[in-house]
């Protein structure tokens, strides 16, 4: 399908974003289930998903609340998990920075892993797109993902209270996170970042207020950045 108008860009985006429905539906249901397990009401759970709209950060907050971590630590850790959104925002800026403010604000709210990945790869493939076409494409890409995120959080929350312990849902979050990060290991620097973060987080497990997570995250990011610099200088030298 050729993109000639913002409208056709929207439909192309909706088509390209459609496969993520398969990821969003179980993930949202799981959040609804686990949030009600943790003692949130259906209304609180749904509001959580609508206001925050960030799966990984929501799961992090939930995990730490269950461990009775202080509110400040829950916020800091969940926002640390969401720091990648700032990265996405930075990376989208050259493409959609020229759009009207209200569109950029709406796009900011709807910046999630899926809309970012789909949109940036399209923008790089078709640099001739105009800014209105890019915005149309972006909103199309997130068109199915966002409403399904709300709807299946809600359905999961309704189901939640009837799930027995033997389902071992405590381990659903670790498995989902591990599955999500595996495709992100694109370079050796990513592997180093994760490895250092894991070692430091295990070493810091007795650090109070879950601050070990922040320390481990910062160490991992520094290790990744240093490795990248080191690999680049090695490439330059003969």
């Amino acid at each position: 399908m050729a993109i000639t108008t913002p409208k056709s860009a929207f439909f192309k985006g909706a088509l390209d974003g459609a496969p993520f429905i398969l990821v969003i539906v179980p993930f949202a249901t799981l959040f609804g289930l686990l949030a009600t397990e943790a003692g949130l009401s259906v209304f609180e759970t749904l509001t959580f998903s609508v206001v925050v709209i960030a799966g990984a950060a929501q799961f992090t907050a939930l995990q730490l609340m269950q461990e009775n971590a202080p509110t400040v630590i829950v916020l800091a850790s969940a926002l640390a998990v969401n720091l990648r959104m700032a990265m996405y925002s930075a990376s989208l800026t050259p493409w959609i920075g020229g759009a009207p403010l209200w569109q950029r604000a709406l796009a900011a709210y709807l910046t999630v892993d899926q809309s970012y990945v789909v949109s940036v790869s399209q923008f790089e493939r078709a640099p001739e797109m105009t800014v209105p076409q890019r915005m149309g494409y972006f909103f199309g890409a997130v068109f199915s993902v966002a409403p399904l995120w709300y709807l299946f959080t809600f359905l999961g929350a309704l189901l939640g209270t009837s799930v027995p312990d033997s389902w071992a849902l405590d381990f659903a979050i670790p498995i989902t996170f591990l599955a999500m990060i595996a495709p992100m290991f694109r370079t050796f620097a990513h592997v180093v970042a994760a490895f250092v973060a894991i070692i430091v987080s295990i070493a810091c497990v007795t650090v109070p207020y879950s601050l070990g997570l922040i320390i481990a995250g910062i160490c991992g990011m520094m290790a990744g950045a240093r490795t990248e610099v080191w690999l680049n200088t090695r490439k330059v030298q003969p």
């Binding site: 206001v51 925050v52 930075a90 495709p183």
Partner: protein, 107 residues
């Protein structure tokens, strides 16, 4: 689980904070370029924070009162291996969950 007030502080704080992070560059930076070293560190946030969050849960699961559990260790290993090989999130989740349930049933 903390009180209801705390929960709402978390929901609203996380909502405002997440929007701030997403709006930071598209909204406020506009067309100005960013320092390379900032971008270089931001590139590794997800791959550093998420494994750091999960690692203690894998080794000392809350559900077994911190006792290392072979079924959960194996499930984590299978999930990451399948994820790395297939680059498919759903396949990795299914493989990890099957391993966990299979071993919990057998052991």
């Amino acid at each position: 689980m903390s009180g209801t007030i705390d929960l709402w502080i978390i929901i609203l704080g996380l909502g405002i904070g997440s929007f701030g992070l997403r709006f930071m560059f598209t909204g406020l930076v506009g067309t100005r370029p960013m320092p390379d070293w900032v971008l270089r560190h931001l590139r590794y946030t997800a791959v550093a924070i998420l494994p750091a969050l999960v690692a203690p849960q894998v080794i000392w699961p809350a559900a077994t009162d911190g006792q290392t559990d072979p079924a959960r260790l194996a499930a984590a290993a299978v999930t990451i291996t399948v994820g790395l090989i297939t680059k498919n999130v759903l396949a990795a989740i299914f493989a990890g969950a099957s391993t966990l349930y299979g071993l919990l049933y057998l052991l």
